[in-house]
Amino acid sequence: MTLVHDRYRAINSPLHRLDPRVKLVTALLLIVGIVLTPERAWPAYPLLWALVGGIAAVGQLGVGRVARLGGVALPFALAAATLLFTTPGDPVISLAGLDITDNGLARFAAILLKSWLAVQVALLLSMSTHITDLLWALSSLRVPATLVAIISFMIRYLYTLQDEAQRLTRARAARSATHTGQRSGGSIRWRARVTGGLVGNLFLRSYERSERVYAAMLARGYRGELRSLDPPPLTGRAVLSGAGVIAALVVIELAALLLWG
């Protein structure tokens, strides 16, 4: 049972070697650009996908696989399904007394496409960048050090916490025996209490661990300020490749605004 899953794929591709700061900024801009695409600019979507797919191909991550994985967010986009009925416009289909409008259909389709594309961009970033590189990229982009430290500890202890939770549930399973001829387990209320105790136990253990970790930090000279090595210099080539992707995005968005919007 693994709850925590690292999406990073160790491949030696130009995308993997690219400076994580460039990747992070480019990914954010791509996502913003995708979200801001005018909703009826239909020709823009295949072009945006070509751009995302092109990056996936450079990273040797499999265009098809990234596209398929991008679908994970689609169930969440269903939350926008009410737009089908509530957006004013000409009725197209009637469902159980409710009208689906043409504008509603367009808006809903655009939301599905945009979330699918945006998730693919986020996937490309996490599949091609090791989490520790993302962390120093965040801090060199002036994200507050405390925030970066919290993310860093979370990543470090997620696995430890997962192991601990696993040990607790195993201990419960090992003692959840059935007496011959009797129904096993108790009422829902009783089961909820056991689970509650389990969660509380996990919290207390983590809390105590945090105190021990803090002591370990103090022992090695921590005095309230986290220090790290200076990041390597940003190369012109790295910036250029990021700028290339952004330029392509700008061209697509301009066309979407002026020609198809």
């Binding site: 005095r223 790290s228 090595l229």
Partner: protein, 239 residues
């Protein structure tokens, strides 16, 4: 000034809930001595160790490390001199990668980058883990984690190593390796808390028995360890 020494005089400590953990403890460790600290669970061994670099502070008693009195002014210096290796390496290795963990101490001592890198390389080489710098700490085995935990303090070039149950949870081979490693570290004074009597016999010339927060015996390992009456009285056993 005396380097590499630990001097504890009349140290007493009670936890906030009133439980007396240390009761008039006095212990002097000379330069390059390797001293074992043994005693049953709850004897106060870990509590004593946490006092040595000021993580726990007590008003009763006096502690000197490397000839410096433990106070707010000397705290930073003493933490650089005295490397504390915690019992559970998961508490000691808190960074995402091995390199960052080993570099943590030197970085917080304010050393320049080249020196930090050199020290990380040296510390990892000393524990035989040269190739592990870029590995993630959470994917290592317990034995590997223990070695890295020791490297995280070796990188600070300490005069004194204080180890809390270094061999706990290790399989026989990792345990052997660890004893060999500690044996080879002859530049440091060592205070080792442990239940592993064979480690004591192999490594330490002097043994201190702590029980109920008091030093109940202190002398050459050969005498104390084979005094079966004494050992049994304090919940221990001869190797």
């Amino acid at each position: 000034m005396s380097h590499h020494t630990i001097e504890i005089d009349d140290l007493s400590f009670s936890y906030p809930d009133g439980r007396q953990a240390l009761d008039n403890v006095s212990l002097h460790v000379a330069q390059n001595e390797k001293v074992a600290l043994v005693g049953p669970n709850g004897a106060g061994k870990s509590t004593l160790m946490l006092h040595l670099n000021g993580i726990l502070r007590s008003s009763a008693g006096r502690i000197q490390v490397g000839g410096l009195a433990l106070n707010d002014k000397n705290l930073g210096q003493i933490r650089a001199w005295l490397g504390l290796v915690f019992q559970n390496p998961d508490d000691q290795l808190f960074s995402p990668t091995v390199f960052q963990d080993v570099a943590f101490g030197p970085l917080h001592m304010g050393l320049p980058e080249a020196e930090v890198r050199a020290r990380v390389d040296r510390a990892l080489a000393a524990v035989g883990m040269d190739d592990f710098a870029d590995r993630a700490s959470f994917h290592l085995s317990v034995g590997e984690k223990k070695r890295i935990a020791i490297a995280t303090v070796l990188s600070m070039d300490p005069q004194i190593l204080v180890l809390d149950e270094p061999s706990a949870g290790l399989d026989p081979r990792s345990r052997r390796d660890l004893i060999g490693l500690l044996h080879d570290l002859d530049q440091q004074t060592m205070l080792i808390s442990t239940h592993d009597m064979r480690l004591v016999a192999d490594l330490c010339s002097r043994t201190v028995v702590l029980d109920g927060g008091r030093v109940v015996s202190d002398g050459p390992t050969a005498e104390i360890l084979y005094d079966s009456d004494l050992m049994e009285r304090h919940g221990l056993e001869t190797p």
